[in-house]
Amino acid sequence: MPRFGDPSLPTADEPLWKDEFSVFQERERFVSRRQLIKFLTLTSLGMFAGNIWILVRSWLRRDQAYPQQEIAQLDEIRVGGVKLFHYPSEKDQCLLVRISEDRYVAYSQKCTHLSCAVYYSREDNQLICPCHNGRFSVRDGAVVQGPPTRALPHVLLERRGKDLIAIGMSGKLEG
């Protein structure tokens, strides 16, 4: 059937596949741009879904209750000494450091970079990750140097008589 007018323009009764796989260069330009716009919009949807996922996870975490667990006796470790323990579950390794006569701090042992185990260096008075030489302040767990960007999760401690009790965590546990 003969067609009149500009052959590069689609007609109303033309099937979609003819428009999508057109032999005309002008129409091909339209199609490639249209598909790119569709792809970019779907990418935006994916990122929105990611934000929703974070929102749901943070709501679920808000309701999480931490157990109370005795982790050490007050005079069990000397000043500068370290004790390893598991908190809040058996697979979460943490370390307790006595940094002065009456001050104790405890952190998750997993580096916030790639989850290697950090250790306490008494000479540097820092928590050090041996994998990529990330260093954290022993006072508050903040990053001092290296690739990690987030502080070590802090175990909240409470003193009850001669016992040190872990009562919660601040920060997100890795893995």
Partner: protein, 69 residues
């Protein structure tokens, strides 16, 4: 036809700008969440939703141009 292609190019440029902001927003929200600050999750999700609504608006605009060809 040429004006339509120019309009689509403008739409793509705007979408790319929106996506750059959205990528930054997602990484910032994720970083805050992993650091234990869940408070950033709600405003992050709302802003990301608004950006997605803007992207959908641009997509519909592109469809209208396509139909008006």
């Amino acid at each position: 036809m040429r004006r339509g292609i120019t309009a689509l190019d403008g739409t793509i440029a705007l979408l790319v700008l929106l996506l750059i902001v959205q990528v930054w927003l997602l990484s910032a929200t994720l970083d805050a969440y992993l650091a234990g600050h869940g408070d950033a999750a709600l405003p992050g999700a709302v802003c990301s939703g608004l950006i997605f609504a803007g992207a959908t608006g641009l997509y519909r605009f592109a469809q209208r141009i396509n139909r008006a060809r």
